[in-house]
């Protein structure tokens, strides 16, 4: 039983990491949003499994919040934004698909190496969840750095937050208050982002953030 419980936790957390890589790999905006929704659902399943395995019923609420807010509401809203901005057909030029993947693999190795000594005293399951969570956070950061489209950068930020929730649940759960405040700050951040995207679009006729560089006074030679 102990073994099976570990295997399922491993499977779900591993799926999240794989989906993070899939996010880096996709170059279509709608595909990125779908993968993000899948990752949120995987997170919800993972948290729900932790709540059963750790016998912590309050984690079910966390799972529900993740499922409803990040699995359905935010992806649906982002889909709507993408349609309204008419960028759903665009193929984004990912900066160096190969190097990005290699960097991502390096980050995963780094997070495993970092967590290894920390988790010695804790159980395998905690160590594993921490390593996966750190990797998901770092991959989210990597996605924010390498993407140029504002919408996919938001997805990177949200997937980073998925990693944070995974880390918090792995470490014997977190207080419900913290979970709710995180969830609401994510929602508010999302609203701010949404307004921001439309402002960028209104001003520059594009959501490619490299357009902001010229406005800031950098890269003037390119234009």
């Amino acid at each position: 039983m102990q073994n099976l419980s570990f295997d399922i936790a491993h499977l779900l957390a591993g799926t999240m990491l794989v989906l993070s890589f899939l996010l880096l790999y996709q170059d279509r905006v709608t595909a990125v949003l779908n993968v993000f929704a899948l990752q949120a659902i995987a997170l919800a399943l993972s948290v729900a499994w932790q709540s059963i395995a750790q016998n912590a019923p309050h984690l079910i609420v966390t799972a529900l919040v993740a499922l409803v807010v990040k699995g359905f509401i935010i992806p649906a809203a982002l889909h709507r934004i993408v349609r309204r901005l008419e960028i759903h057909r665009e193929i984004e030029q990912v900066i160096g698909g190969g190097p990005t993947m290699l960097t991502g693999l390096g980050l995963v190795a780094l997070s495993i190496l970092l967590v290894q000594p920390v988790g010695e005293s804790a159980g395998t399951i905690v160590r594993e969840d921490l390593a996966f969570a750190l990797a998901v956070v770092l991959l989210g950061l990597l996605m924010m750095i390498t993407r140029r489209n504002a919408v996919t950068q938001i997805v990177g930020f949200m997937s980073l937050e998925n990693g944070l929730v995974l880390a918090a649940t792995g470490a014997k759960g977190m207080p419900l208050v913290v979970e709710f405040s995180v969830a609401f700050s994510i929602l508010i951040a999302f609203i701010v982002f949404g307004v921001f995207i439309f402002r960028i679009r209104e001003r520059f006729d594009t959501v490619d953030v490299s357009a902001l560089d010229t406005f800031r006074g950098e890269r003037r030679d390119h234009t």
Binding site: N3, L4, D7, I8, H10, L11, G14, T15, L17, V18, F21, Y25, G97, G98, M101, G104, L105, V108, A109, I112, V115, Q116, T124, R127, E128, A131, F132
Partner: protein
């Protein structure tokens, strides 16, 4: 007596892979034709093709060297050895000790090396393009393949295929994300290595994007027959590898009784049949890729295989 029996069992395996190779190719072509709403050639057509080519005159270019003439036999022999090493219907055969995954990768690499050299030997531009692209694909596919080998070896504790298959079919190894990722990567590598869509189109002879066909464009007669047979064998090799590593159920692992062997044989043929039907379905649902997108396709396989190794390290420590 026991030795003779062992030899016979090993011999059956060696003959089996060669005997079914053209049939498997025929099945994939038939299924593909049906999916494209064509009737398609009968499934035994590859046997007839090879038979016909065997009896045709082999035309050689003026400047073809000995290498050009010997390469087809070398490729066929090496591929046959590699295909015969993979446990198909039973494990622990007489030569199973030599069925090492790393040796298998090396054998395939040797065959590829010979084919690429032969492609450049006559000095035509098509052969050169084919060889250069084949080497590009190989340089991307081989690291991924080796990482798959590492994944399997880390789970099983050995790189010997027979022992791996026995372990996977008998012991419970739980839900392993790593093995799923390794399967995914192996399918990608197999598609690239066997020159199937989306990497290469096996059905075309005159296209600027072809890889395998470009290398063998100058071959004819019995040389071409050898190369075609080797290509069919390679497909069976990858099918057998997938079946042996990831779906090892039904194999005769312990005693070599008649019932267990018959069951193993039936299970093997069924597994190969299913894979031969799945491949054309996957092929017809995607479009051929541009050459410059190969690194992304195979990079995905590499990333999956590398992730598989990393995940194993997390779950069991160093």
């Amino acid at each position: 007596m026991a030795l003779i029996l062992d030899l016979i069992l090993q011999g059956v395996q060696m003959v089996l892979v060669v005997a079914i190779a053209p049939l498997v190719l025929g099945i994939t072509r038939k299924v593909k034709a049906r999916l494209l709403a064509r009737i398609g050639p009968p499934v035994i057509q590859p046997y007839r093709d090879i038979w016909k080519l065997m009896h045709k005159e082999a035309v050689l270019a003026h400047n073809a060297s000995w290498l050009y003439r010997t390469a087809p036999y070398c490729i066929f022999a090496v591929t046959w050895v590699a295909a015969a090493l993979i446990p198909t219907y039973a494990t622990n055969l007489l030569f199973s000790w030599s069925a090492d995954l790393i040796a298998l990768v090396a054998l395939l690499g040797t065959a590829r090396f010979a084919l690429a050299l032969a492609g450049m030997d006559v000095g035509t531009s098509f052969g050169g393009i084919g060889s250069s692209r084949e080497m590009m694909i190989a340089s991307l596919a081989e690291p991924a393949m080796l990482l798959i080998v590492f994944t399997v070896a880390l789970v099983a504790g050995t790189t010997q295929l027979s022992a791996v298959a026995t372990l996977f079919s008998t012991a419970s190894i739980g839900l392993r994300v790593s093995l799923g990722l390794a399967l995914f990567a192996l399918v990608f590598v197999g598609i690239a290595e066997n020159a199937r869509i989306p990497i290469d189109n096996p059905a075309t002879h005159l296209e600027l994007t072809m890889v395998h066909e470009a290398m063998v464009l100058e071959y004819s007669g019995r040389h071409l027959a050898m190369i075609e047979a080797a290509a069919a064998l390679k497909l069976v090799l990858y099918f057998s590898l997938i079946a042996c590593l990831f779906f090892p159920f039904g194999m005769a692992t312990g005693d070599k009784g008649g019932g267990a062997l018959a069951l193993g044989l039936a299970a093997y043929l069924a597994k190969i049949g299913v894979l031969a039907a799945l491949l054309p379905i996957a092929e017809t649902s995607v479009a051929k890729m541009r050459v410059f997108r190969y690194p992304i396709f195979l990079g995905g396989a590499f990333a999956a295989a590398a992730l598989a190794v990393f995940l194993l390290f997390v779950s069991r420590g160093f």
